[in-house]
């Protein structure tokens, strides 16, 4: 009897998972179409289809689609997924649902590293490729994570650890501000535009590089779903089941730094997506099993960021909002909700 009950439950669950993934993919399709079709220049649907799939039609339409809208959409898709996975990895690592690259100061660390490279090296090296910025952002993210880890040795309290992360973020921002104060105007303009956070201005070369990094890191993350599942029961249990905890923790830190560094290098710091999206994905699925949450969080992150980007560029067109502004408006209340809910649970 018991066996049958769980088989029925299992069937229901699988139907739910299938529905969630189907809906996410459907919604992504819709948002992609709407994004391609939305902008200052109105383009009719037949023209659009021809321009996208056949690269035929008016040269200006092709140019707008292929140099502005499509790279931007793809960037949103990848960066959204990447930042969601970075958040999920950090939450697993710190066993805390409100950990994320932004609140732990990791994005700020990456930003500081990029600022240093931009200001100090821009003059000396003629053409700074996106690769250099990614490496700088990755190292910055890694350094900030190392600092957070260092503090986590002494601070066992999760809330205090987040506070330490926020402080690290402030310190990195202060260093960045200090550098911009004494930098040349042209560099500052560059840096400022970038640090506002945006999915625009990506060349196809950038899209290719970031796409490769995000794809590789996401696949590696997905490959870790089994040990992540064991780690959800805590470090000691994971070790007792044969997880090489030391190696596993290193993998998580490297992957989350790579993902958040990559996002910061190409799009600037994006706030709260890393916390809000994994939470939403888990709630939709009704489970936190990593093998399901990892792909769902990626898709939800893509959807979330693409919608936010659409809002950022259309809400006050022709003026564009910075992407972090929009993600904060939607993401921060969710984070607040998670915190309140946890508080309630602890008191229950």
């Amino acid at each position: 009897m018991g066996e049958q009950t769980w088989k029925i439950t299992q069937r229901k669950r699988r139907a739910r998972y299938a529905a969630v993934f189907l809906l996410l993919i459907l919604a992504l399709g819709v948002v992609t179409v709407v994004s391609v079709n939305t902008g200052n220049v109105r383009i009719s649907v037949p023209e659009l289809v021809r321009a996208v799939f056949l690269q035929e039609g008016r040269p200006d339409v092709i140019a707008i689609l292929w140099t502005i809208r499509l790279p931007r959409i793809l960037t949103g898709l990848m960066m959204g997924g990447a930042i969601a996975l970075a958040g999920f990895l950090l939450q697993t690592f710190f066993e805390n649902p409100i950990a994320g690259p932004f609140v732990l100061g990791i994005s700020s660390g990456a930003k500081m590293a990029v600022a240093i490279v931009m200001i100090l090296l821009m003059d000396r090296v003629a053409n700074l490729g996106s690769g250099v910025l990614v490496v700088a952002a990755f190292l910055g993210a890694l350094a900030a994570t190392a600092l957070v880890l260092l503090f986590s040795q002494w601070i066992k309290n999760a809330a205090a650890l987040l506070l330490a992360g926020i402080m690290i973020g402030y310190i990195c921002s202060a260093v960045t501000d200090f550098l911009t104060t004494f930098a040349k105007d042209s560099d500052v303009v560059n840096l400022h535009g970038w640090s506002m956070g945006s999915f625009s201005g990506m060349s196809w070369q950038d899209v290719r590089v970031s796409g490769m990094i995000v794809l590789a890191a996401s696949i590696l993350t997905f490959l870790l779903s089994k040990p992540i599942g064991a780690y959800q029961l805590g470090e000691a249990y994971a070790a007792s089941m044969g997880v090489n905890v030391r190696w596993f923790r290193a993998e998580i830190i490297l992957l989350s730094s790579l993902l958040s560094g990559c996002v910061t290098a190409f799009a600037g710091p994006i706030s709260f997506v890393g916390i809000a999206v994994p939470f939403l994905a888990k709630r939709m699925l009704g489970t936190s099993r990593p093998i399901l949450v990892i792909p769902a969080a990626f898709l939800t992150g893509s959807l979330f960021c693409m919608v936010c980007d659409l809002i950022a560029r259309t809400a006050f067109a022709p003026t564009e909002l910075n992407i972090s502004t929009v993600t904060s408006i939607f993401g921060a209340p969710i984070v607040l909700y998670i915190m309140l809910q946890r508080r309630r649970m602890n008191h229950a």
């Binding site: 018991g2 599942g229 093998i291």
Partner: protein, 410 residues
């Protein structure tokens, strides 16, 4: 696998501890296969440290440990995980996972790269849930169940790992008595039916005495003694092990008894002059208050047999009232406790008839007492002639009270 010994775990000159600090050892210990071995001892003496060394959460500081005839450190993590499983003291807080999900994680060493469960795995999960009688909560969220249920699920998770050696660190903490018994019963079943070796630490020494095949005492200052429960559960050893000053462990009853701190020196002789002027036990409950503060007056005699006296002794002890226990055979369970907590006992040596001298000794005590509590005997026994005589003797002097009359006022 090379088997040089029949022991499940063999410690040879092993030292365990945190970092570079040795907490316990060097020690030699042979944990038998297919049996329950229990570690007892005070907090901080090194029970958990010893267990964590076996699970390799902590490195061995020196010496050798062999697991099923193979050096512990030659196991790969995966190999070790398929031989040992653990129930740890860490409390886990997973979100949005059902009990079944938690148990399923136990299949970790056996599943493929993505941890996808086969029909075979699902059957083993069912079996593990059935073993701990948790089928009905399988689909509930782990955070929504009681502590007792959580512990059962964590045990099922460990069983799902199909270990030869099951390690449990204080598995019965936080559990009420029913769940404690349930859990230990499952462990006994695992050793008997599946030949699993169980090693655990327990705080409940009474349960340890009953459930263990081998007991390892781990005390402060390097105290380390291994033996069968019969060898280990002796009053003085347990008292030393835990450094108990206000009580002692009664190995026969398997119970912990209190000692009043001013009576721990072992002097239990009656000094009649001490009793004068005390107003203890006059039958009015109000007058009992504060009796604990005055010097324990020897003014109450308890007459009983066959165990009827035990609740009365404990009650008097709680109130701090000194008493003497009436004519008891040395074979009587009442005598067993009375000799520990009564101020004086008049006893009949085993297998000898009652003598006049013994009777008059009790009568003398009754004469000097304010009150006599007639606790009688259990319903399924007949009063001995001696008890009848002493009860009659007290009644004629107007001193006899039933326990109810004495404790609640007539």
């Amino acid at each position: 696998m090379r088997r040089t010994t029949d022991a499940a775990i063999l410690f040879r000159g092993a030292s365990v501890g945190y970092g570079r600090r040795t907490i316990l050892g060097p020690l030699d210990l042979e944990v038998p296969r297919g049996r329950i071995t229990t570690l007892i001892g005070p907090n901080g003496a090194g029970k958990s440290t010893l267990l964590k060394t076996v699970t390799r959460e902590l490195p061995l500081l020196s010496g050798d440990v062999e697991l099923f005839g193979k050096d512990l450190h030659s196991y790969s993590p995966k190999e070790l995980a398929s031989v040992t499983a653990a129930v740890l003291t860490e409390r886990i807080h997973p979100e949005l996972l059902t009990c079944r999900d938690i148990v399923a994680v136990g299949r970790y060493p056996y599943t493929g790269a993505f941890g996808v469960l086969t029909e075979e795995d699902e059957r083993k999960i069912d079996q593990a849930l059935a073993d701990v009688h948790a089928e009905e909560i399988a689909d509930r969220d782990f955070t929504q169940i009681s502590d007792g249920q959580k512990q059962r699920i964590l045990l099922a998770r460990a069983l799902c790992q199909e270990p030869d050696l099951l390690i449990l660190d204080e598995p019965t903490s936080y559990l009420d008595i029913k769940y404690k018994l349930d859990l230990l019963t499952v462990l006994q079943k695992m050793t008997r039916d599946r030949g699993m070796t169980v090693v655990m630490s327990l705080h409940e020494i009474d349960l340890a005495q009953k459930v263990s095949d081998l007991v390892v005492c781990v005390g402060k200052g390097g105290l380390f003694k291994v033996g069968t429960p019969e060898e280990v559960f002796q009053k003085s050893l347990i008292q030393d092990l835990y450094g108990m000053e206000n009580g002692f462990y009664d190995a026969m009853f398997g119970s912990v008894e209190f000692l009043e701190s001013d009576r721990t020196d072992g002097t239990r002789e009656v000094n009649p002059s001490e009793g004068s002027g005390a107003t203890v036990g006059t039958g009015v409950s109000g007058s009992l208050e504060g009796a604990g503060q005055s010097s324990p007056a020897h003014r109450v005699v308890v007459l009983s047999m066959g165990g009827a006296g035990i609740p009365v002794y404990r009650r008097l002890q709680k109130l701090g009232i000194a008493f003497s226990a009436g004519l008891l055979s040395e074979l009587d369970v009442d005598y067993h406790l009375a000799r520990e907590i009564a101020d004086s006992v008049t006893a009949i040596p085993a297998f000898t008839p009652v003598t006049e001298a013994q009777l008059s000794e009790v009568k003398e005590a009754i004469d000097g007492a304010d009150r006599v509590i007639g606790a009688g005997c259990p319903d399924d026994m007949n009063r001995s002639d001696a008890l009848k005589e002493l009860e009659e003797y007290s009644r004629r002097r107007g001193k006899l009270a039933s326990p109810e009359e004495f404790f609640h006022g007539a």
